[in-house]
Symmetry: C2
Subunit: 140 residues, 2 copies
């Protein structure tokens, strides 16, 4: 939590009330992947005058600082979650039955990454989403 404040202060980035509220929302949404609209809804309980533009600006900024992790599934919008300090990037399984999103451990793609580097590329990042039926949906 405090590494966040550090990052914020390093980056000449003021921790305003609005930003604090948005951060709180994100931290309380453990395990969820929220859209900007969903963040707005939740944040307005603390800060009713909050505008959607500020939410977009803040989420974008926090993501570029590595504090949030931004993903997009097969919808027209982005989703955000707290970035665990340890994992550079991680991947998801989206259930095609119930739509729920599950986490996938990091490092699964190291082999592939190596192979691609061998071919002369320099891998910088990658994004993987697996579409599956989750155990529960499977058994129905």
């Amino acid at each position: 939590m405090d590494f966040i404040k550090e990052k914020l202060e390093q980056g000449e980035y003021r921790l305003t009330r609005q930003r604090q509220v948005i951060l709180d929302v994100m931290q309380e949404a453990e395990g969820e992947h929220l859209t900007a609209e969903e963040v707005l809804l939740a944040a307005r309980r603390q800060s009713p005058r909050l505008g959607i533009a500020t939410v977009y600006r803040t989420l974008e900024r926090l993501a570029s600082l590595g504090i949030l992790y931004k993903s997009r599934f097969d919808e027209g919008k982005h989703r955000y979650e707290m970035a665990d300090a340890s994992q550079h990037h991680h991947h998801h399984i989206q259930c095609v039955g119930c739509g729920r999103i599950f986490e996938l451990a990091e490092g699964l793609l190291d082999g592939i990454e190596n192979e691609v580097n061998q071919q002369g590329f320099a891998v910088i990042n990658h994004r993987l989403t697996i579409y599956a039926m989750c155990p529960q949906c499977k058994s129905e």
Copy 2:
């Protein structure tokens, strides 16, 4: 080429002039990944009155028949290419330098897929994009 006509005819799907032109464009764009707008531009050389709505409808239809393969990179729009009959799905490397898109062999993810199935899921599909510097951009 002819498996396309089969599929089209099976699916009570008329091969109109517009659709033929769009297919031609896609087949001539070997190795490219085109947006709807780009398809429209090219197709209008053969069929100047072609409308964008028809392009969207046709691309969508052909993709759902498995004739085209639809992807989205870190842009706000989709890109289409002919689906090679053999490969169910394939993956891409996008160069963060020049933006070019390279193909990645299929089957790389079979290991991961098995692992996820082991955990009780039933994997249906997956999407992977690797971001890297391509050999040329790397050497500059």
